[in-house]
Assembly symmetry: C2
Homo-oligomer: 507 residues x 2
Amino acid sequence: MTAVMSVDARTGRAVEEIAHESSVEEVDAACRRAAGAVAGLDELGRAGRARMLRAMADALEARREELVRLADRESGLGDGRLGGELTRTCFQLRLFADALEDGGYLEATIDHKGDTAMGPRPDLRRMLVPLGPVAVFGASNFPLAFSVPGGDTASALAAGCPVVVKAHPSHPATSQLAYEALAEGARESGAPEGTIEIVHGVKAGAELVRNPAIQAVGFTGSLRGGRALYDIASSRPDPIPFYGELGSLNPMVLTPAAVEERAEDIATGLAGSFTLGVGQFCTKPGLVFVPEGAAAERLRSTITDAVAKMGANAMLSAGIRNAFDHGVRTLQEKPELKVIASAPREGNEGGPAGAAPVLFETKASSVRDADLEECFGPTTVLATYGSEDELFDALDALSGALTATVHTGDADTDLPQRLAAKLRDRAGRVIFNGFPTGVAVAWTMNHGGPWPATTNALHTSVGVTAMRRFLRPVTWQDAPQSVLPAELRDGPADVPRRVDGKLELPA
Amino acid sequence: MTAVMSVDARTGRAVEEIAHESSVEEVDAACRRAAGAVAGLDELGRAGRARMLRAMADALEARREELVRLADRESGLGDGRLGGELTRTCFQLRLFADALEDGGYLEATIDHKGDTAMGPRPDLRRMLVPLGPVAVFGASNFPLAFSVPGGDTASALAAGCPVVVKAHPSHPATSQLAYEALAEGARESGAPEGTIEIVHGVKAGAELVRNPAIQAVGFTGSLRGGRALYDIASSRPDPIPFYGELGSLNPMVLTPAAVEERAEDIATGLAGSFTLGVGQFCTKPGLVFVPEGAAAERLRSTITDAVAKMGANAMLSAGIRNAFDHGVRTLQEKPELKVIASAPREGNEGGPAGAAPVLFETKASSVRDADLEECFGPTTVLATYGSEDELFDALDALSGALTATVHTGDADTDLPQRLAAKLRDRAGRVIFNGFPTGVAVAWTMNHGGPWPATTNALHTSVGVTAMRRFLRPVTWQDAPQSVLPAELRDGPADVPRRVDGKLELPA
C-alpha cells in the first residue's frame, strides 16, 4: 500500500502520512456505500437535505482554524485567502439549502388530462429526480472551495446524489479533515452512511470513473488528465456524463478608447489579476488584446514595471511549478512570442515551488499560428492589434473559454456591442470593465464554456444551476396521487410549477 | 455516386431515384451553410423563430396529401396513422412556437450588484443561448414525426440552432419532400440559408458527426448504430453531446389485484399495444410481469387467443423484418423462454416485409439469466412471478428504459407505491393503468431514460424541454444595458425571470 503523505508546500518536505492509496476493493466498497445511500438521501426530501447542507457548513466552520492551518501548510496560499475560501464554501452550502427550499430547480410541471389536436392526452406530471452516486475530483488550486467541499460536492448533495470524492494528492490532510466535517454534518442530520465518501490515489480515480455505481463525474483540473478520465467515462459499457473544467485562455480585449482613458488603471488591474494566487486561477486572463498606439505604450510600461517589481511566490507544489516552467519554456520557444517583462527568481525565493511572473508579447495577427493553450501560473500574453479586422480575425481563431473580458471607454461606438456578440460565442461568462479572476457563487453564475474550457458547455460547475448536472427528468402518467412526489400532487404547492402550460408561483 | 432509391414497402420494389449519397465535400458544404446561419437565426429572435416554426407547420400541412402518400408507400404504415403523424408534427412545431413566446426556457436570471458574505458581488445576468449547428438522424419508424420533421429538428430550430438532417434510407422521398417544406417555411419567414439542410447515406452520417461545425447530435435508432455514432461524437478532438434514443424493454408490472379485477381488459390492451404499428414503437412493452394464479390464466388465454387471430403485416422494410426474425430466433434459442402464441405467416401475407406477432413466456426468476434486449417488432415476453420478492429481484436486474408501466387494482395496498419508487429509478416515464405506446407532445413529456434507453438520461427528445439539449448558459458580468439581450435588460420583462433569487412572472 502506497502511503499518501501531506507535504509542506513551502519546504517541500513530507510532514505526515494521512492515508494510503485506495485499492480497487476499497473504491468499490465506497461506491457500494454511496449506492446504498441513494434512497435514504432522496427520502430526506428537500427540507432534510437543506438541513444537512447547513449542518455540513456548521461542521466546516467549527474546524475553521485547523482547516485553514492545514490548507495553508499544504498549499502555501496564506491564511487570508484560505479563510475566504472556507467562507465561500460555507456560503455555497447554505445557498444550495436555500435553493432546495425554493424548489424551482425541480422544474415541476403538470399537464392535466385533456383533449388535443392529436386526441385525448393523459394526465402527465414531470419533475427532476437525483441521478445517483457522483464522483468528484478535487482540484489543487482551491483546497477548500473546489476540492472535497466545493461546487461539485455541494451541488451533487443538494440534488440528492451521494458523493465519492477523489482527494487531490497535493492536500490530503486538508481533504481528510474536510471530509470528516461533511460526514459529521451528514450523520447529525440523519443522512445515510455513504452520503459522502473519500478515496485517494490516481489509480483509484480511474477506478472510480469505471465503477458501475457511479452515474456522473465532476472534475476540475488539467486538459490532459480531464480528457483521459472523460474518455474512460464515455467508453464505459453504460457511458456516463463527465463534467470536466479543463483549460481556458480567458481572452481579454482592450478597446482603443479604454486604453486611451484608463491605460494605467487597466495595467495595474491586469498585473494583479494574472498573478493572483500565483496565477493559479482557471479564470486567469491568459491573452490580452491591446491596441497599437501611444496610449498602449503607457499601459505597457505600467504593467512591465509592476511585473519587474514582483518577487517569486510558492506555487501549490513543486510538480505544479515544474509544469509552469515547462509551459513558460514552450511559450519562449514560439517564434511569434517574446518576453517583455519577468521577475527572475533569486536564489530560493518562494521556496522549492517558487515561481515568478513572466509577461509575453505578440501580434494579434500571430495568435492563430502561436496556437496558445492555458499555461497554469503567473504568465500572460499581450497581443497588439492594428485594426478591428485584425482583432476579429484573431478572436475567430480562439477556442472556447470560461470567460472573456472587454474593457471599453466612453469614446467607443459600436465596438463593445460587436465584441459582446463575438465573445458570447466563445465563452461562458462575458465580463465588462473588470477582471475574470473571482467567480461569485450566485444564482446567475456560469462557470463553463465551449471546449476545451469544459467537456460540456451546457452546464456550470459553480452557482445554483450546477445542480442540473446531477438530475434527470421523470414523467408520471395517470399516477394516483398517493404515488406522486409531494411537489406534483393536486392542491397548493410550495414550489414554482408550470400547470397546463402556465408558470405559477407558490402561494 | 450511389443512388438513393425510394422503395415501396409493400412490394419491396425500388420506385424512383430520389438523390445520391452525399460525398464528404457535400456534407461539409451543408455544415458550413448551417454554421453560416447561426447568427441570422439567433437574430430572428424568439418572435421571429416562432413565426418560422409556424410557417414550417403550414408548409407541411400544404403538402399533407403528398407527404402521406409518399410516407405510406415507403413505410406501409397506412394513411390513418401517417395523417396522425403529420398532425402531431405540425402541433409540435406550433407548441415550440408557443414556448418561444413564453420564454421560460431561457432561464433568465439577474443578480444585481450587492454585498455578500464574501464581499461585493458584481452585477450578473444569465441566460441560455443557442449551442450551434445540430445534426439530426431521422428514424425509420415515424417517417413524419421522428424524422426530417420531428422532436429533434423542432427543438433544435426553436433553440436557435440550424439543423443538418441525415435522412433515413427507408423513406428518402418522404424525407426530401418534408425537407423542402421546412426549407420553404424558413425562407418565407426570413430565416437564413442553411437553417435546414439534408444529407443522405451511412457514410455521410458518420462524417456529419465528425464535422467541426456540428455542436450536438440528436439520434433515434438502434443500440448498435447509436453507440457507434456516440463513440465518434465522444472521441472528436472537441467532444460534442450526443443525444441518442437507443433501445428499451419498457417493462410492465401487473399486480395480483389488477389481474384479478381486469384480466381480460389488460390482455386486450396489451395485445393491441405490443403489436401497434407492427410493434415498431420504441415504447413497445417488451417484458410484462404477470402474477401466478387462476386470474392470470384468464389473462393468458385472452392474449394468446388475440395473438393467434392476428395476421402478418408489412414492417418498414425487408431489412427491418430480417432483424425482427433474427431477434425472435435469438429469443427462441434462450432456454429460459418459450413461445406460447404466434400467428404464423401464411404465404406472402404482409408482403416481402411481412411479420406476424410472437408471444413468449418465462419465469420472473429467469429474467436475469435471459438477459433480454429490445426486439424491434411485434413480440413481447410474459414473466410470471410467484411472490413480491421474486418480482422485485427481477426488476433489480433490469437495465434502463424509456417507460415502465404498472397496472393496479382496488384491492392493492402498498405494492403500487413500492413499484412506483422502484420503477422511477429504471425509467424516464412511469405509467399507471395504461399502455406506454403513445408519447404525447406536451410540456410535461419525458422521452428518455437510463442507459441503454438513451445515451443521456438528463434530457428528453420529446416535449418542450427537449430544447434544453441545444442551449448553453452565458453569464454577462457588469454589462452595459446596450449589449445585453433584451430579456436581461432592466425594466419590465416579457419572460419569467429570477431576480435577486426570486422568481418573477412577466407583467
